[in-house]
């Protein structure tokens, strides 16, 4: 049997590749794209007001309320702003760290730093958010540290979401930038110096353009992860974000939740389009 199959496949490279890829491809199509398609379709359904059961049909009702009710515009705006703020914060923190890791640190130091960046990823997401909830609380360690200076911690709120999300997704920004910087030959930096460029000029004219695609790659992680998160906002703030609004509607009005869930997808498509325009994918 095996021999015959092998004989059959011999000299048919397309069939070989096809049968190898069939499993993963089916998984991708059914599991990922399929569920997205179901989401898209169910956004056009409605819910029977009395029984709360889903009525399968075609209606634009969900999108109308999404656009017409000011509260959803506020929620979407707030979420996008937070995602942008987290992305910028993470990029600003990650660039120097990644640069030190890639270009300055010794072999040993580099290994230590990589482990240090990866270490938080080994612990559970929920544990990290709950620790932040405890640290940010009235009796928490942040207030304990700040109070002697007459200062007060941010407490729960939008600032807390920004802090926690920036912490959570930082490794996803550092690692791509580090990988991007590793690929820049040191000779380019030396050449820039030899030609009389000041360090800042070298950074601005040589390093930044080369590492920019990596920054964009990292920003896709930080931006989209913040955009969709609902646990951290629920635990450290009172404000509604796209994720929490989806969660609030999932029990009563699944179709509306589906319509809401399309918002981050649309935002991400726009984001990727802009990133492409900026030339982020040219060297990939």
């Amino acid at each position: 049997m095996g021999r015959r199959l092998a004989g059959f496949l011999h000299g048919r490279p397309r069939l070989q590749v096809g049968s190898l890829l069939a499993g993963p491809a089916a998984w991708l199509v059914v599991g990922y794209l399929g569920s997205l398609a179901v989401l898209l379709v169910s956004a056009f359904w409605t819910v029977d007001p009395l029984s709360g059961e889903v009525v399968k049909g075609f209606s634009l009702e969900n999108f109308e309320s999404l656009i017409n009710e000011p509260v959803y515009r506020t929620i979407i705006g707030r979420t996008v702003l937070i995602a942008a703020a987290v992305t910028v914060t993470d990029a600003l923190i990650a660039l120097p760290i990644a640069f030190y890791m890639a270009k300055v640190a010794s072999r040993r130091g580099k290994a230590l730093l990589v482990v240090g960046v990866l270490l938080p990823l080994w612990s559970s997401y929920l544990v990290k958010v709950l620790s932040w909830r405890t640290m940010l609380s009235e009796d928490g360690v942040i207030n304990w540290a700040l109070n002697p200076f007459g200062l007060e911690g941010p407490g729960y709120g939008i600032t807390a979401v920004w802090l926690v999300a920036s912490y959570l997704w930082l490794p996803y920004m550092i690692l791509p930038i580090y990988a991007g910087l590793e690929r820049i030959p040191n000779s380019l930096i030396s050449a820039s110096e030899d030609l009389g460029a000041k360090p800042l000029t070298t950074f601005r004219r040589v390093i930044l353009p080369l590492v920019f695609p990596a920054v964009v790659a990292g920003s896709i992680f930080t931006f989209s992860l913040t955009l969709g998160d609902y646990i951290a906002p629920r635990l450290v703030s009172n404000s509604q974000f796209i994720g929490t609004a989806i969660f609030a509607n999932i029990t009563n009005d699944l179709p509306f939740a589906a319509a809401l869930a399309l918002v981050p997808i649309v935002v991400m498509i726009a984001y990727l389009a802009v990133a492409r325009k900026l030339g982020a994918f040219e060297h990939i």
Binding site: L33, A37, P49, G52, E53, E69, Y72, N238
Partner: protein, 397 residues
């Protein structure tokens, strides 16, 4: 390169378009899959247990103290899922994965209407006989004369506060809802994160704005509803946290992030046990806040597609048996549904404290119920639950 890029992009779009078309067809075909709806046949005789029972319950309703003996007696292993809100319960029941649920009145009507629960033959539940009469045949457990469950117990939602920082002890919901008083606790107020919380504002308005003419906080016309929503919008800046998981509220009170809030007995007892300085307006001290309060009267309901109906019947009888119902009531801090439980409680005064047998007391407790457009005046002009859900999102901003 460009040419190849464009080509693969077109292929990708074709794949996506094909998938969408496929899913649309699939969705169209799957149109009518609601069987049931008007309830199946009642069970006529309890058969052999199926070996397990899958429950959805409020925190504190299914605890090892009385679940373990049940397992030993009946051979039905108890799998329990704790839900934080009625919406969550309805959603979980709709999965068809559970045999029964301890539904409050704001879930029961929806479950019956959606055909998610089956009529219950109360003759197969011997302990039903001695359940308090004012819990039987109520609009939240009996529909068109058909029983849909077994009463579990009832209680009022509490006003809880930190006794170190809130002085004097409040006797009114003013501390949460009157903007002038509540602003003293700005950022320290803890409110229940569920659309049904709008009814708490309506109860408050019944006393403080009587000309609105609210008679039932779950049956609100446009004007009454707007007033309640406005009250909560004014409250919003003062709210430190909206909670829907009991554990979240417990940690907020323990860490000093919340100082006054609406709560359940479960959190109150848990905080007391941790030695936190909390006080509440429990029924046990003989008073509700002076406006009255929202509350609940819960019913164990049987899923329409229960895989273990026999075990579920056994469970419903077990949970209202005198000794067990007394245990649950004392553990959770609610009035038992079983009249004979009053002889079984460890605290012999328990039933008196919790007004278990005092129908007059419960007149000022407004049990959760599902808001419907049709509120009995023939006009269909009340705000329905969808309106409540929308308004709740707007209130939180």
């Amino acid at each position: 390169m460009r040419g190849k890029d464009a080509h693969s992009a077109r292929t990708a779009w074709l794949v996506v378009a094909g998938l969408v078309a496929f899913m649309l067809i699939l969705a169209g075909c799957g149109g009518s899959d609601d069987d049931g709806g008007d309830g199946g046949e009642e069970l006529q005789k309890i058969g052999k247990g199926e070996g397990q029972v899958d429950l959805i319950s409020w925190a504190g309703y299914v605890e090892p103290e009385w679940a373990k003996p049940f397992e030993q007696k009946t051979g039905c292993t108890v799998n329990n899922k704790v839900a934080g809100t009625s919406d969550e319960m309805v959603q979980l029941m709709r999965t068809g994965e559970y045999d029964g649920v301890s539904a409050s009145g704001n879930a029961s009507a929806r479950l019956v209407d959606g055909g998610d629960v089956a009529p219950v033959n109360v003759d197969l539940v011997p302990n039903y006989e001695t359940v308090f009469d004012d819990l039987k045949d109520q609009p939240y457990n009996t529909f068109d004369g058909v029983h849909y469950g077994i009463p579990h117990g009832r209680g009022a939602n509490l006003l809880m506060w930190n006794s170190d920082s809130v002085e004097p002890a409040p006797d009114s919901w003013d501390v949460m809802l009157d903007p002038k008083v509540a602003s003293k606790y700005k950022g320290k107020i803890s409110a229940y994160d569920d659309p049904i919380y709008i009814a708490d504002a309506a109860v408050y308005l019944m006393t403080h704005q009587p000309d609105l003419g609210i008679e039932n906080p779950y049956e609100l016309n446009q004007e009454q509803f707007d007033a309640a929503v406005q009250l909560l919008e004014e409250q919003q800046p003062n709210v430190g946290e909206y909670w829907s998981e009991a554990a979240k509220q417990i940690s907020a009170f323990a860490n000093g992030d919340s100082e006054v809030g609406t709560t359940w007995q479960y959190q109150y007892f848990a905080l007391q046990e941790e030695g936190e300085p909390v006080a509440a307006s429990p029924a046990s001290q003989g008073f509700l806040p002076k406006e009255g309060a929202t509350g609940w009267s819960d019913t164990w309901m049987l899923s329409n597609v229960a895989k273990h109906p026999n075990c579920m019947y056994e469970w419903m009888d077990w949970i209202v048996s005198p000794k067990v119902n007394a245990e649950v009531a004392e553990f959770f801090g609610e009035a038992p549904a079983q009249s004979l439980s009053c002889d079984e409680t460890a605290d012999k005064n328990f039933c008196a404290k919790y007004h278990a047998d005092n129908p007059a007391f419960w007149k000022r407790v407004y049990y959760w119920q599902t808001p419907l457009a049709d509120c009995g005046n023939g006009e269909e002009d009340c705000k329905d639950y969808n309106d409540w859900v929308r308004a709740w999102t707007t209130i939180k901003g």
